[in-house]
C-alpha cells in the first residue's frame, strides 16, 4: 500500500496508472467536537461495512463539550485488521484550527478532502487535494441555519463516497437505518449526501489510488461498541438493580442497559422489573450494589478509574462479607483525573486487590464486543456463585468505539443464582452457619432477608466474624475465615472464563495479552511472521485468578512477551506473583500507555528490538 514512490508534485492533475490501494487504508475525519459529525462518521463507517469490507471506527475526542478538536478514524481492512494504525492515508479536514497540522501528518501520497476555504495546498505538494466548498453547498441546500451544521457533515460523506467509489445505494441504506422513522430528516441528509457526490462528480478528478471495492466479509456481522455490549450482557443476565454515577468513559454502559431495560423489562401493567438509580457518588453506587446483592438482587454498577478508587473500602466489605455484585470498570488513563477520554489498561492491579487488608477480586477481561456481552452476563452468575464482587475490566477503546462482530449468542445456560437456602431448606436443616464450608467448595450458604424461618437471619458485618457470622477477635476464628476465602479464590481459577489460545504452534516464543490489546496483537503476529519470519504463539487471558492453562503456556515457551497498555507492567506483575520463580523469569514486557489505542506496529517494533532482529 505504500505510495511514497510517487512523484506527486508532478502527478497532481495528471492521469496516473498507479497500483490501486483497495480496501486497505484509514480515513481520518478531523473535526470539532460538538459539531454533530458523529452521525456522518457513523454513516461513512456503515457504508464501508455495507460494501462488505471489514471496518472499524475510533473516536479520538477531548474531555470537553464543544469547540475542541476531535478526530474520527475509520480503518478499512480487507484482511480484517481492526486495530488503530499510526497513519491515516485519507484526511477529511473540517477543523480550521488543526487543518495545517492534519495535512502535514498525512503520509506522502495521501489524500486531503477539505473545506475549500482552508486552502491546504499551500502546506505541501506531495498529497492529493480535493477541495469541496462545503459551506456554499450547505447554504444552498439548507436555508435553516440551525440544521446547517449537521447537513454540512453529510455533504462530505457524499464527496468521500464518490472519491472512494462507495455505492450511493449503500450510503442510502445506511442513512435509512440511521434515521429509521424520520423520513424528513432522512431526505434532508440524503439530499446533502447527493449534493456532495454531485459536486465531486462534476468538479473533482480522481487521481489518488484509494478505493473501496465490494467484498463479502461483513455479511451477517453486527457493529456495536463494547459499552453497549456490556449493558446488553447485564440485561440478559437479568440485572434488577443498577446504581451508578456518571463518569467517562463508562456512562454509556448504564445508558445502554437502561434503554434495554425500558424496552424489555416493563410488565404489561407498566411496572418496572428493575431499578436504576443515579447515585450521589461512586461510594453510594457501590454501597447500593452491595445492599441489593445482599438482599438477593442481581446488582451492578459501571465506572472508571476515579470511581474505582472511591469504591475501594466497599469492595473490601463485599469480599469479606461475601456479597455478590458486578462492577464494570471502563478504564481510562490515570492516575488521578488523568486523561479522561484516552484509553488505558492501568487499573488491573488496583482492581485485583482493591481494598485495605488481604483482598483478592475476581476480574473478567473481555477482549472484544462479543465477550463484553458474554463475560458481562457471566459476571452475574460468578458473583452469585462465588458470593463476591466481580469486576469486568474493559477500556475506552473497546468500550466507546465501534467494532464488527459475529452476532451475540443467546446464553445457553439458565441463570446461576448460587447457594441460597429457602425456608423449606431451613425446616429440613434446622439452621445454618453462614460462613461454614459444608460442601468443601469454600462457599457457604446464604439466606435472603425475608426468608420466613426463625433461624434464617444472620448478621452481616465487615468486622471480624466466625463461620456463624458472629463477631470475633479470636485469632483462630479470624484465620479460619480468611483461609477459606483464599481457598474460594483458588477454586475460582476453574470457574472463571479460561484463556483463549489464539495461536499455539511449536514456537519457543509466546505472547500473553488481554482486552483490547488483542486487535493489535493479532495483526502484529502476522507482521512478525511476514517481516521477520518468526512464528510466535499467543494466548489471550480472560480472567483473574489465572487459569492453569496460563501456567502451562508459560511453561511450554522459552520467552513470553506480555503485551499491555500501562506503564508498570501490571499484567506481568500479577503473573509473576502467580508463577513459580523459574517461570516468572521468562516474562518480558511490551508496554504502550500514551492514551492512544495500541497499534500493531508498536508491538512489532518493540518485539524486534527485544529479540535483536
Amino acid at each position: 500500500m505504500a505510495t511514497g514512490d510517487l512523484a506527486l508534485g508532478e502527478v497532481q492533475g495528471a492521469t496516473i496508472a498507479r497500483q490501486r490501494v483497495v480496501n486497505d487504508f484509514s480515513i481520518n475525519v478531523a473535526t470539532v467536537n460538538g459539531s454533530g459529525s458523529q452521525s456522518a462518521n457513523s454513516v461513512l463507517l456503515k457504508s464501508i461495512f455495507g460494501m462488505g469490507v471489514p471496518v472499524s471506527g475510533k473516536n479520538l475526542f477531548p474531555s470537553n463539550i464543544a469547540g475542541l478538536p476531535t478526530w474520527y478514524t475509520i480503518r478499512a481492512s480487507k484482511d480484517g485488521y481492526v486495530a488503530r494504525t499510526r497513519d491515516a492515508e485519507v484526511l477529511v479536514a473540517l477543523n480550521p484550527d488543526t487543518a495545517k497540522q492534519d495535512v502535514l501528518t498525512l503520509p506522502a501520497g495521501g489524500v486531503a478532502i477539505y473545506e475549500e476555504n482552508l486552502n491546504l495546498r499551500q502546506y505541501r505538494d506531495d498529497v492529493f487535494f480535493y477541495p469541496v466548498p462545503l459551506d456554499k453547498i450547505t447554504a444552498t441546500l439548507c436555508p435553516e441555519p440551525k440544521l446547517r451544521k449537521l447537513v454540512r457533515n453529510m455533504v462530505y460523506v457524499g464527496a468521500v463516497a464518490h472519491l472512494l467509489e462507495i455505492d450511493l445505494g449503500v450510503v442510502e441504506n445506511g442513512l435509512r437505518k440511521q434515521f429509521a422513522k424520520k423520513v424528513k430528516v432522512f431526505e434532508l441528509n440524503f439530499g446533502a449526501v447527493k449534493a456532495g457526490r454531485d459536486y465531486a462528480a462534476e468538479h473533482l478528478t480522481k487521481l489518488d489510488p484509494y478505493f473501496i471495492e465490494r467484498m463479502n466479509q461483513t455479511a451477517g456481522k453486527i457493529i456495536i461498541d463494547g459499552n453497549a455490549a456490556c449493558g446488553m450482557g447485564a440485561v440478559f443476565a437479568g440485572v434488577t438493580v443498577v446504581a451508578w454515577y456518571p463518569i467517562t468513559p463508562s456512562t454509556s454502559v448504564v445508558e445502554a442497559a437502561t434503554d434495554l431495560l425500558k424496552k424489555f423489562r416493563v410488565t404489561p401493567e407498566g411496572k418496572a422489573t428493575f431499578a436504576v438509580v443515579q447515585a450521589e457518588d461512586e461510594l453510594a453506587a457501590i454501597g447500593m450494589v452491595l445492599g441489593a446483592g445482599w438482599a438477593g438482587a442481581r446488582s451492578m454498577t459501571a465506572t472508571s478509574g476515579p470511581g474505582i478508587s472511591l469504591m475501594t473500602e466497599f469492595s473490601g466489605l463485599g469480599y469479606y462479607a461475601e456479597i455478590p455484585g458486578v462492577i464494570f470498570d471502563i478504564q481510562r488513563s490515570g492516575p488521578s483525573t488523568g486523561m479522561p477520554t484516552r484509553t488505558s489498561q492501568a487499573d488491573l492491579l488496583s482492581v485485583a486487590f482493591l481494598s485495605h487488608g488481604d483482598t483478592k477480586h475476581i476480574v473478567l477481561l473481555p477482549g472484544n464486543v462479543k465477550e463484553c456481552f458474554e463475560l458481562g452476563y457471566a459476571a452475574f452468575d460468578l458473583a452469585e456463585r462465588l458470593q463476591t464482587p466481580v469486576f469486568v475490566l474493559s477500556d475506552l477503546d473497546l468500550g466507546m468505539n465501534n467494532w464488527m462482530s459475529e452476532p451475540f449468542d443467546y446464553p445457553d445456560k439458565p441463570l446461576d443464582r448460587g447457594k441460597v437456602l429457602t425456608a423449606e431448606d431451613l425446616v429440613r436443616l434446622g439452621g445454618f452457619a453462614r460462613y461454614r464450608d459444608v460442601d468443601g467448595d469454600a462457599i457457604g450458604w446464604r439466606t435472603l432477608p425475608g426468608t420466613n424461618h426463625p433461624k434464617a437471619a444472620y448478621f452481616t458485618r465487615g468486622s471480624g466474624h466466625n463461620d456463624a457470622a458472629g463477631y470475633t477477635e479470636k485469632p483462630n476464628e479470624y484465620v479460619e475465615v480468611m483461609e477459606r476465602l483464599a481457598r474460594k479464590f483458588e477454586n475460582a481459577r476453574k470457574l472463571v472464563p479460561g484463556p483463549v489460545t489464539v495461536k499455539d504452534g511449536t514456537s519457543k516464543i509466546g505472547f500473553l495479552a488481554y482486552g483490547s490489546s488483542d486487535f493489535a496483537l493479532r495483526e502484529s503476529l502476522d507482521q512478525i511472521d511476514r517481516e521477520y519470519g518468526r512464528k510466535a504463539d499467543y494466548m489471550r487471558i480472560r480472567a483473574y485468578p489465572f487459569a492453569h492453562e496460563i501456567h502451562d503456556f508459560v511453561a511450554s515457551h522459552e520467552r513470553v512477551y506480555v503485551v499491555e497498555q500501562d506503564r508498570d507492567a501490571q499484567l506481568a506483575s500479577l503473573l509473576k506473583l502467580d508463577l513459580p520463580a523459574d517461570q516468572a523469569v521468562k516474562l518480558r514486557s511490551i508496554l504502550h500507555y500514551n492514551g492512544l489505542p495500541l497499534d500493531a506496529r508498536t508491538v512489532t517494533e518493540e518485539f524486534a528490538t527485544k529479540e535483536g532482529l
Partner: protein
C-alpha cells in the same frame, strides 16, 4: 408433679417479646443506646412486626453495634462508616416488602456520612433512620462530633467552637416525611414515636439524644442526662393508636393534631407548644432554629407528610421483591436478542 409454665404474653401475631430480643449488649452500663434498643424491641413487638420481615441496618460506631442487641430473628447488615444509607437503598430496592430500620450515630451520620445521609432524605427512602446522638465519638475515646452544641465542653475541658448540625432541621428541609427528636431517657415518648415510625411509609428520621455515660455525661455537656432532664422541651405529646387497637381515646379536637397513617393507625399529637402544625415545613424549621437560640432541646414529632411518594413509588417497581423475580421475568427472550442483533447489522 406437674408444673404449669406460665404462658408468656404474646402480641397480635402470637409472639412473646422474647422473640424480639437480641444478643447481650457490649456497650457501657447506662449507655443511652441500650435504652433505645429496648424501646425498639417493645415497639416492634407491640406493633406485631414479624421479625423475619425486618432488615436492621447500621454503619460504624457504638450506635451501629446496637442492632446486635435487638431482634436476633431479623436480618442485619453492619456496613461501613457513614455508608448505611446507600446499603439500605440497595437493600430496599431489592426487596421493597421488608421493613427497614437503620441505626446510626452522630459521627456516622453528620460527619463521615453526611453525603449519603442528605441523599437518603431527598429520596424519601422507606426506612426508619435513628440517630443515637451523644455528640461525641465513643470508640475513639471522646472527640466532639458535628452535632455537639456550640460552647459544650469535653471531659478534658476542650470547648466546642463550631456550630452543631441540626439533623432534624436538615431532614425536614431535604425531604424526610416523618421527623422527630426524642431522648433515650423518655420511655413513653420514644416508644410512641417508634410505633408511629413503623406505621409510616417514607423516610422516618429520628434524632434520639442518647447520653454517653463514659465520655459526655458531665457538667458542661449539652448531651448529658442532667442537661436533657433540665432542658427537654416536648413540642407535642404523642399518642399512637395502632390499626389493630380498639381503644377509643377522648380528646378535645382543638388540642390534638391527628394524622391518619398508611396502615390505618392514628397518630395523635397533643399540642403543648402554641399552635404547632407538624405539616408546615417552614414553620417546623423556624421553630427548631428559635429553640436553638433559647438553648431549649425541643423533642416530639416536628414534621409529618403521609402523602409524598417514596423513592420506590417514584421508580415504579413491581410490588414483589426484585431479588426473587423468576428468570422468565428478568432475562429477555431469545427473540429479543435476535431482534437486537438484526438491528445492528
Amino acid at each position: 408433679m406437674a408444673t404449669a409454665t406460665p404462658t408468656p404474653k404474646v402480641n397480635h401475631i402470637g409472639l412473646p417479646v422474647l422473640e424480639y430480643r437480641g444478643g447481650k449488649t457490649t456497650l457501657c452500663a447506662g449507655c443511652g443506646h441500650n435504652a433505645i434498643s429496648e424501646r425498639i424491641i417493645e415497639a416492634m413487638w407491640e406493633m406485631g412486626v414479624e421479625p423475619e420481615r425486618v432488615m436492621k441496618m447500621s454503619g460504624i460506631g457504638c450506635s451501629s453495634k446496637s442492632p446486635a442487641y435487638f431482634m436476633n430473628r431479623s436480618f442485619a447488615f453492619n456496613s461501613v462508616h457513614g455508608r448505611m444509607p446507600s446499603v439500605s437503598t440497595g437493600a430496599i430496592l431489592a426487596n421493597r416488602t421488608m421493613t427497614m430500620l437503620g441505626v446510626s450515630g452522630d459521627g456516622d451520620t453528620a460527619s463521615i456520612g453526611m453525603g449519603q445521609f442528605v441523599h437518603l432524605l431527598r429520596r424519601n427512602l422507606p426506612m426508619i433512620y435513628i440517630i443515637e446522638d451523644n455528640g461525641v465519638y465513643g470508640l475513639t475515646k471522646g472527640q466532639f462530633s458535628a452535632t455537639a452544641d456550640l460552647g459544650s465542653k469535653l471531659k478534658t475541658g476542650v470547648i466546642n467552637d463550631l456550630p452543631a448540625i441540626d439533623t432534624c432541621a436538615l431532614a425536614i428541609q431535604l425531604g424526610a416525611t416523618f421527623v422527630g427528636r426524642s431522648f433515650s431517657g423518655d420511655k413513653k415518648q420514644l416508644l410512641s414515636m417508634l410505633k408511629a415510625a413503623i406505621a409510616h411509609k417514607g423516610t422516618v428520621m429520628l434524632d434520639v439524644i442518647s447520653p454517653c455515660v463514659t465520655f459526655n455525661d458531665h457538667e458542661g455537656s449539652t448531651k448529658s442526662y442532667k442537661f436533657m432532664q433540665d432542658n427537654d422541651e416536648p413540642i407535642n405529646e404523642i399518642d399512637f393508636v395502632a390499626s389493630f387497637d380498639e381503644i377509643e381515646v377522648d380528646y378535645n379536637s382543638g388540642e390534638v393534631y391527628e394524622v391518619e397513617m398508611h396502615d390505618g393507625s392514628n397518630l395523635r399529637l397533643r399540642k403543648l407548644h402554641e399552635d404547632y402544625d407538624p405539616t408546615n415545613k417552614a414553620n417546623a424549621v423556624r421553630t427548631l432554629m428559635e429553640a436553638h437560640e433559647k438553648e431549649e432541646i425541643l423533642t416530639g414529632v416536628f414534621y409529618i407528610d403521609t402523602q409524598k411518594p417514596t423513592f420506590i413509588d417514584l421508580l415504579n417497581v413491581v410490588d414483589e421483591p426484585l431479588a426473587t423475580l423468576p428468570e422468565s421475568l428478568t432475562r429477555p427472550s431469545k427473540s429479543a436478542l435476535d431482534g437486537l442483533m438484526a438491528s445492528l447489522q
